[in-house]
């Protein structure tokens, strides 16, 4: 590979890492404010994942899961999807509601609303941190919550990128409270969003 490309590629990687770290710190701060208690986000791990393998990262394509989807418009147009296996979504709900782990046994309207809000706040804060750092605009849509098989949920973002590339950017982190932590997977896809396509 040409040394200039390698250099430029490495610089872009480093830039993305730095922005992701900064954005995670901002997001954690915002979530802490929203919840009135300290939430930390672990330094995100970034990975490009082939679309055929994405489902396996969150329990397999038939795993029942919660997907929180936002469309982003502006310069940084694209899609963000937060996916959690159902069990982790329930643990996250426990964490949000400050109840012991194992309390939440099903996801009714209140729980779904709480999850939508966390997805909304974290994706929005994250995108606005990237936007501020880069000088590019990013406006998130209201969130949509889906509870279904992982494969079916992922179709929403895979159709957006399937025609553009064979890989999706995974941003893996943890939400950490005082006594528990939850693995969080954000999937990011750049490009024209559903709202823009005819």
């Amino acid at each position: 590979m040409d040394s200039v490309e390698t250099f430029a590629g490495a610089r872009l990687d480093r830039l993305l890492e730095q922005m992701a770290e900064l954005a995670a710190a901002r997001t954690a701060s915002g979530l802490s404010t929203m919840l009135g208690r300290p939430i930390r986000m672990a330094v995100p791990r970034l990975e490009l994942v082939p679309i055929a393998q994405v489902a396996d990262y969150v329990g397999g394509p038939e795993q029942e899961a919660v997907g929180i989807y936002l469309a982003i418009s502006g310069d940084l147009a694209g899609h963000i999807m937060l996916i959690l296996p159902l069990s982790d979504a329930m643990r996250l709900t426990d964490m949000l509601m400050e109840v012991p782990e194992g309390t939440t046994a099903s996801l009714g309207p209140i729980e779904r609303s709480a999850l939508a809000e966390v997805g909304n706040v974290s994706a929005s804060l994250f995108m606005s941190a990237i936007a501020n750092a880069s000088g590019l605009s990013a406006w998130p849509s209201p969130p949509a919550v889906m509870i279904d098989m992982v494969g079916a949920i992922l179709d929403v973002i895979l159709i957006g990128c399937g025609a553009v590339s064979d890989e999706i950017l995974l941003l893996q982190t943890q939400f950490e409270g005082p006594d528990r932590s939850i693995e969080i997977y954000f999937w990011l896809v750049p490009g024209a969003t559903i709202a823009a396509e005819g």
Binding site: L46, E47, A144, I153, A163, A195
Partner: protein, 176 residues
């Protein structure tokens, strides 16, 4: 420190458990004439699963397509229109006869309903519609079409007897 890892596409993760389960992931086709095999497409949302079965040659095939219309230079199995033709070709290579194959079309759900969507953008129904059109144009006989709705589906073809079943969360599994 976070690091970005770029992994090369094309690696198919092994199906968990039973060695005879052959999964078609996104943009993949699986075909077989082994009576022990079960072909499966998991978690079809807006994607469409197209199943073909030749009861005489005992050849089965499954396509897991993502989008309705082929874009040149890309993988043909990602698209309903070219995927169906490629599936047919691969089944014929294993001894299936076009006139004998029975077809099933499954999936094409509307997973996302957002309040500020400009139009009723529904790739699921476009996929289902393309499947219908291609089948009609090619004079292929659809035995069962189970599409639409808002729930994900898993479809399986059992090559032992040609049974096709569909599973949704909450509604269990039914034979088509």
């Amino acid at each position: 420190m976070a690091a970005i890892v770029s992994t090369k596409a094309g690696v198919v993760p092994p199906s968990a458990g039973d060695a005879h389960v052959k999964a078609a992931s996104l943009g993949q086709i699986v075909v077989s004439r082994d009576g022990e095999d079960v072909l499966v497409a998991y978690g079809l949302g807006s994607c469409v699963g197209v199943v073909g079965w030749d009861p005489q040659a005992r050849v089965g095939g499954l396509l897991h397509a993502l989008l309705p219309q082929f874009r040149p230079g890309d993988n043909v199995a990602k698209y309903v229109d070219t995927g169906i033709l490629e599936l047919l070709r691969q089944m014929e290579n294993l001894g299936a006869h076009r006139q004998r194959i029975v077809w099933y079309v499954v999936g094409g759900a509307a997973m996302l309903k957002m309040p500020d969507m400009k139009s009723e953008f529904d790739i699921g129904s476009k996929n289902a519609e393309m499947a219908r059109q291609v089948m009609e144009r090619e004079r292929l006989h659809i035995k069962v079409i189970d599409v639409g709705g808002t729930a994900g589906r898993t479809v399986k073809l059992n090559l032992r007897d040609g049974t096709v079943s569909v599973k949704t969360l909450g509604l269990g599994e039914k034979i088509l």
